[in-house]
């Protein structure tokens, strides 16, 4: 097994054994979306109109919930020091940790989203764009979040600081994610929006490892 997959496997194993994080993210996502019909009333037209926005905003917040732990546990128990000192480039380790994070948060969020769409009377034409958009968008959430998680290491109340740093960066993902679903429902093509999400994902894949690795080196110095 390569060192990259060894690190992914270890993070997955930790996440699944401790269980809490992944289940909490999905629980938060589902419960928060369920609150909206109670809050704004059950009229199908209204819910249908706001469904893409609700699902995407809630998914952003749910992903944010789990980010604080991305490097925090390793930082506290000294593992981060040992990871930084491995012969494997830290940039590759950042990608491995993001991949593991996405597999236990972003992927389940993507799979649950259509079910919540049913609950909110989401227009039938919007489902493919919702799932594709989430599949492209949630990895960006994990990647951008890694920068925030690395920068907030060692800070008091790091979770709040992390939200303040990362949420503004999530705005483009939100815009194109929602626009893709709404375009499909309005009979337009979702393709341009999905392509823009794909471009954002590629840019994040290329740039995030360097930024996050720099922040991690700073944190263990």
């Amino acid at each position: 097994m390569s060192k990259f997959s060894l690190l992914v496997a270890r993070d997955l194993r930790l996440a699944l054994r401790q269980g809490g994080d992944a289940a909490m993210v999905i629980g938060f996502f589902v419960l928060t979306v369920i609150l909206f019909p109670f809050g704004v009333g059950p009229e199908p037209q209204l819910l249908q109109r706001i469904a893409p926005g609700i699902i995407w905003v809630t998914a952003l917040l749910a992903a944010l919930l789990s980010l604080e732990r991305l490097f925090q546990a390793d930082y506290e128990d000294g593992s981060l020091e040992a990871l930084v000192l491995l012969p494997l480039p830290l940039e590759a380790q950042v990608l491995a940790k993001c991949l593991a994070h996405w597999l236990v948060t972003g992927l389940p969020l993507t799979l649950v989203a259509p079910l919540l769409g049913l609950l909110l009377h989401l227009d039938l034409a919007g489902y493919p764009a919702l799932v594709l958009g989430m599949a492209l968008g949630t990895p960006i959430l994990s990647l951008l979040g890694a920068i925030g998680a690395a920068l907030s290491l060692g800070a008091r109340r790091g979770g709040v600081l992390l939200s303040l740093m990362v949420l503004p960066l999530y705005i483009p993902v939100l815009i194109f994610g929602v626009a893709a679903v709404e375009a499909e429902s309005a009979g337009l093509a979702a393709r341009p929006h999905l392509l823009l999400l794909a471009a954002l994902l590629l840019a994040a894949l290329a740039l995030v490892p360097f930024a996050a690795a720099g922040a991690l080196r700073q944190a263990v110095e």
Partner: protein
């Protein structure tokens, strides 16, 4: 500020790990300066000094975790800054924290770190034998959350022999260890040195490593002028 050149004296340049003119700054505070050391293959260096004199800082600097404020480190005469990854591949650093995950078992934990450090041609070492060397063979299947502080320390030290590396940097390795474990550590260090490995460690307890050199950090307190320069820089 221009960095002064720190030539490694010819008698040290040949083989091993050496530092010349090292100074370490944490925040605005200069901790030590003008520090030279040489660690030959098979050699051992014991760092002594009162709390806060910079033993841990020097070990972190040797590992490359913290950059040196002044001076340079070299391995076999070549500056380590030239190839950081090669330097990381040749060292084991065991700091104050044990890097032990409560949810992983003892064996999984050891396998993970050994796998992450394994070189291309390394034979994987038998983890049961490695654990037995530190008296952890009966705890192999146990999740690490059930380990005592001393057992966690033993597990951290077992990483040293789970994958080979010529340079060991140990920060207070005896903390929390009972007499048996301390003896096992000394035996591991002796075996490591017989194979040409070198070790630098900090300690407060008297430690018998035979012909180890002692480096007293108290001798490298910065001068008033250097402290001023460190604040200004």
């Amino acid at each position: 500020m221009s960095e002064p050149a720190f030539p490694i004296p010819a008698d040290r340049a040949a083989a091993g790990f050496a530092g010349a003119g090292l100074a370490c700054r944490r925040g605005e505070r200069l901790i030590f300066s003008r520090l030279d050391f040489a660690l030959k293959p098979g050699g051992a260096l014991i760092l002594v000094g009162p709390n806060g004199s910079g033993k841990s800082s020097l070990l972190r600097l040797m590992a490359g975790l913290t950059p040196a404020w002044r001076g340079r480190l070299s391995w076999d005469g070549a500056d380590i800054a030239a190839d950081r990854e090669a330097h990381r591949a040749r060292l084991h650093f065991i700091g104050h924290a044990d890097a032990v995950k409560p949810a992983l078992s003892v064996e999984e934990s050891l396998r993970f770190w050994a796998g992450m450090r394994a070189g291309a041609g390394d034979e994987p070492r038998d983890s049961a034998a490695v654990l037995a060397q530190f008296g952890l063979e009966t705890a192999a299947r146990l999740p690490c959350r059930y380990l005592s502080a001393g057992q966690k320390r033993r597990l951290a030290l077992a990483r040293l022999i789970a994958s080979p590396a010529p340079l060991w940097l140990l920060d207070e390795p005896l903390t929390g260890l009972d007499r048996d474990a301390a003896a096992q550590l000394l035996a591991a260090i002796a075996a490591h040195r017989r194979q040409g490995g070198s070790v630098a460690l900090s300690t407060h307890a008297p430690l018998d490593l035979g012909d180890a050199a002692e480096l007293s950090l108290a001798a490298f307190r910065p001068t008033r002028q250097e402290i001023g320069e460190a604040v200004e820089a």
